[in-house]
């Protein structure tokens, strides 16, 4: 595995697992608009994952589906932030904003890459992510507007903060802190990031569910 395929798999695994987690709101979000929004965001994230897996697959001589579903559990590289199971609403919004903001910072760096394929795909992904960010910002405004919303959002942000830091590398973390503290109007805890190689128990559960159908079929099945 090259550094390039490691990077592609970091990104693809993040988008696939977050997409899956977002889709857990389909049918049960607090109201219809959010049902539609989280389903649509999930569809976008999984589309990004597929394109990123395809780039990695071309280099590794495999396919996007094999990378998404046939790796060993311990080989997945997604950040622990996206592994956490469906969270209550304030935590869902906190994760959504933290991930989308971290992703914007990461994509901005990738758009400046001298690897034109990576710069190109990052620019394309970023166009769609702009809508996810607007949606997340709208919800942060809404939660910050009431005392209860603010309290619940702050609690969720403190809890998820070490996970959010773990999405980015050392170099990009200060920018995430700067933006998050500015947005919330307060300092966030000085904590150690939860690194990418940590696998939460929820990842194993999700992997079981996500790969169940594929594992049940003989190798080489046509879908």
């Amino acid at each position: 595995m090259s550094k390039r395929t490691d990077l592609l798999l970091d990104l693809a695994d993040d988008e696939l697992f977050l997409g899956w987690r977002n889709s857990e709101w389909t049918g049960i979000a607090p109201f219809l608009e959010e049902d539609v929004a989280f389903s649509s965001i999930a569809q976008n994230e999984i589309g990004h994952a597929r394109a990123l897996y395809e780039l990695a697959a071309a280099e590794l001589g495999t396919t996007a589906d094999e990378l998404a579903f046939d790796r060993k559990l311990e080989d997945y590289r997604c950040a622990p932030l996206v592994q956490l199971r469906r969270l209550e609403w304030a935590r869902t919004i906190a994760r959504h904003w933290l991930y989308e903001t971290a992703d914007e910072i990461r994509l901005a760096a990738l758009k400046a890459s001298d690897d034109l394929e990576i710069a190109g795909i990052a620019a394309k992904i970023d166009r769609e992510e702009a809508y996810h960010r607007m949606h997340a910002e709208m919800w942060i405004d809404r939660l910050l507007a009431s005392e209860e919303g603010r309290a619940r959002l702050n609690e969720a942000m403190d809890e998820l903060w070490p996970y959010a830091l773990g999405v980015l590398n050392d170099e990009l973390r200060p920018e995430l802190r700067r933006r998050a503290e500015e947005r919330l109007g307060r300092a966030l805890p000085e904590v150690e990031p939860v690194p990418r190689d940590v696998h939460e128990a929820e990842l194993a559960e999700l992997w079981q569910e996500m790969t169940m159908v594929r594992r049940s079929a003989p190798a080489g099945s046509q879908w």
């Binding site: 589309g47 990004h48 394109a51 710069a119 190109g120």
Partner: protein, 160 residues
Amino acid sequence: MTADDVWAALAEIPDPEIPDLSLVDLGVIKSVTVDGPRVRVEFTPTFMGCPALERMQVEMTAAIERVGGMAEIDVVLDDSWSTDRISPAGREKLRRAGFAPPAPRPAGKLELVELQRGAFRCPYCGSTDTKLENIFGPTPCRSIRYCNACRQPFEQFKTI
């Protein structure tokens, strides 16, 4: 078989989700190169999670075979497709099908306040007295707006 023959064949392929529009109207075909029987098409996908993308490639391959070519579809994954590439005819077809065509891609960052402005026109009655209901809609490419004048919700193409 010339490149023009191939373009004409591709212009017959309806968009799988909005069949009023062809793939050429949608602007997803970046280039066509004919080299003997081989036809290379540069295809720029719309939204990356759109389930119609695979269907589009199958249909393009079949259309090229019908004019006697062997298709090679090259998927270009960069920022070169934009809703600005939807042709003027395509925009008119969208409006007639009840969808509000996308606004031009802004030079800078896309902002929520832009979407919340009333400048978007209702495809049914033409009023600009409309408001954003949901950034997201039934497919990745559309938002939901509401027209205060004719009291109809409508689907607005997202600018990308």
